[in-house]
């Protein structure tokens, strides 16, 4: 874990920081350690790169709650780039760290007024609201954001999670469907829809869950969660009294197929686990 033992010189440290910047990795503890050991005293040798490095280290030090380093760096950045929106974002992050959330949000509102096309302040505001536990406000802000930026995948995914945490399954389904629209070949979006539909319960939803799980399995045959989901929804449907008998036969076929698949998979990974498999099947059937 101690990165200072790996890196020998400040040039290596600079290269490692650059690599993390390019790959968008947020190794905050390592960044701060490298800064303290190597970069801090050699900042002037970095040339023009030093501003980007300072931004990177400022964010990392705020992640690590290391306020003195962060404040120094932010002050220097502000002197050099007084009107920069990026520096403003760092200042707002600092306000968050100090617990002054209302001030931070006012700052973000000002940023939004100045440039309504920049999506970053919106998202930060929603993140603050979410972290404060003000979920309903977060949902409201996020829906307004999505009214304007309709194709933002991350935002739809986030809204889906927020609705799920509130128990609003219908709306969560809507958000999850948006994700299917944009990336239909990703098995995970189908699986998530299947999960939500199964949780909602009721014959129609179970049927939909069944189809989504099947699609997820078609796209990725090794997803255990989808197979179990398929098994559970098919077995609930086959034991439901209101389902017509013709359909019930179909569902029982699905159940047997799913059990077969599950057994095969477990037997592949655990050689001596017939007992384990039968226990797990029995457990599922009893639910």
């Amino acid at each position: 874990m101690d990165i200072t033992k790996e890196i020998g010189s400040w040039q290596e440290a600079r290269d490692r920081l650059r690599k993390w910047r390019d790959e968008n990795e947020r190794k905050s503890e390592d960044v701060v350690d490298l800064f303290i050991s190597y970069i801090g005293s050699n900042l002037s040798k970095l040339g023009d790169e030093k501003w980007v490095v300072m931004e990177q280290v400022a964010i990392a030090s705020m992640d690590m709650h290391n306020l003195p380093i962060a404040e120094d760096l932010i002050m220097e950045l502000k002197e050099r780039f007084p009107k920069s929106e990026r520096v403003r974002l760092l200042q707002i992050q600092r306000l968050n760290l100090l617990g002054r959330h209302e001030d931070a949000m006012k700052g973000l509102d000002a940023m939004i007024d100045r440039d309504p096309t920049n999506s970053v302040p919106y998202k930060r505001k929603i993140a603050i609201l979410k972290s404060l536990g003000r979920t309903t406000e977060a949902i409201k802000e996020l829906s307004e954001y999505l009214n304007r930026f309709m194709s933002d995948q991350e935002a739809w995914s986030e809204l889906c999670d927020l609705y799920l945490s509130e128990g609003e399954y219908n709306r969560a389904v809507f958000c999850a469907e948006e994700l299917v629209l944009h990336t239909p070949h990703n098995f995970f979006v189908h699986q998530r829809l299947g999960d939500i539909r199964y949780t909602m319960g009721g014959i129609e939803n179970l049927k939909l869950a069944l189809s989504y799980y099947s699609q997820a399995l078609k796209l990725n045959a090794s997803s255990m969660r989808s197979i179990f989901g398929l098994f559970l929804s098919a077995s609930s449907l086959s034991t439901n009294p209101r389902v017509p008998p013709a359909d019930k036969k179909e569902y029982t076929r699905v159940v047997t197929w799913a059990v077969d698949q599950i057994t095969k998979r477990y037997l592949l990974s655990f050689k001596h686990s017939t007992l384990f498999v039968s226990i797990s099947i029995a457990f599922c059937l009893s639910m």
């Binding site: 096309t117 930026f149 629209l181 939909l208 099947s214 699609q215 699905v254 197929w257």
Partner: protein, 244 residues
């Protein structure tokens, strides 16, 4: 007849290579000049982003709506297309000032574009034509028809000469387009010396923003959505899966 022609090797040293060098250096200078000149960044309006994102979503709906149950598809189509409340119907957008003369920002944009790109090409082309005139520069490796003669053999009035022999001006133009890939190597992607890309940009619109005519785009998308059929692909997904 054409095989008997031999060019003076001095032409190679004093014409052929200098033209390459001149074109290349002019391209580099052009790139740095455009970097130094403060270019008006195309400031995208919020409405533009909103519109373009809506278009993307509508298109995704058309293409992948078959994975959603019928009701969801209809719900979304209703959101876009409904007569009273649909997005494509109610959003009024002004057609932007199409008249280039009255809109001051567009005039400066055009002027700057012309100055940096077309003007040097014309000036240097003309200078090369004047300096290196009266002799042949090189031979094109493939046979050309006679129609190319007046274009490629300016200043050489020989009726019987094969059209493959070209003058220096045509060699210059060949260089302008050919050195594009070398600019990419030297200056990295997205450089301003890439003239043919500038010309392409002038012809096509921007991909991300919808500057010119959102109303026409909306109408097209509305029609496309209206005629889109919805067949739920996942209807018998479980049976398909088992029979696989």
């Amino acid at each position: 007849m054409a095989e008997d022609l031999v060019l003076d090797p001095d032409i190679r040293g004093w014409v052929f290579v200098p033209i390459i060098i001149i074109t290349f250096l002019v391209g580099i200078v052009r790139h740095y000049v455009s970097v130094l000149m403060p270019s008006s960044e195309k400031k995208v309006e919020l409405l533009q982003i909103q519109d373009s994102q809506a278009m993307i979503r509508a298109r995704a709906l058309r293409e992948n709506g078959k994975y959603l149950p019928e009701q969801s598809f209809l719900m979304r189509r209703h959101f876009f297309n409904d007569e009273d409340t649909g997005y494509f119907k109610t959003q009024k957008r002004q057609a932007p000032a199409q008249n280039p003369i009255t809109d001051p920002t567009m005039v400066t944009e055009m002027l700057k574009g012309n100055v940096t790109n077309v003007l040097p090409m014309i000036v240097i082309g003309g200078w090369i034509n004047w300096t290196f005139s009266g002799f042949l520069c090189s031979k094109v490796p493939f046979p050309l028809t006679l129609r190319f003669k007046p274009m490629l053999q300016r200043g050489i009035e020989l009726q019987t000469l094969d059209a493959s022999w070209v003058s220096s001006a045509s060699w210059y133009f060949l260089n302008v387009f050919g050195l594009r890939s070398i600019y990419t190597l030297v200056l990295g992607e997205n450089n301003a010396a890439d003239q043919s890309r500038v010309m392409q940009d002038q012809m096509s619109g921007a991909a991300m923003s919808m500057p010119q005519d959102p109303k026409a785009a909306f109408k097209a998308e509305w029609e496309a959505l209206e005629v889109a059929n919805h067949t739920w692909v996942l209807k018998n997904a479980s049976s398909h899966l088992i029979n696989l």
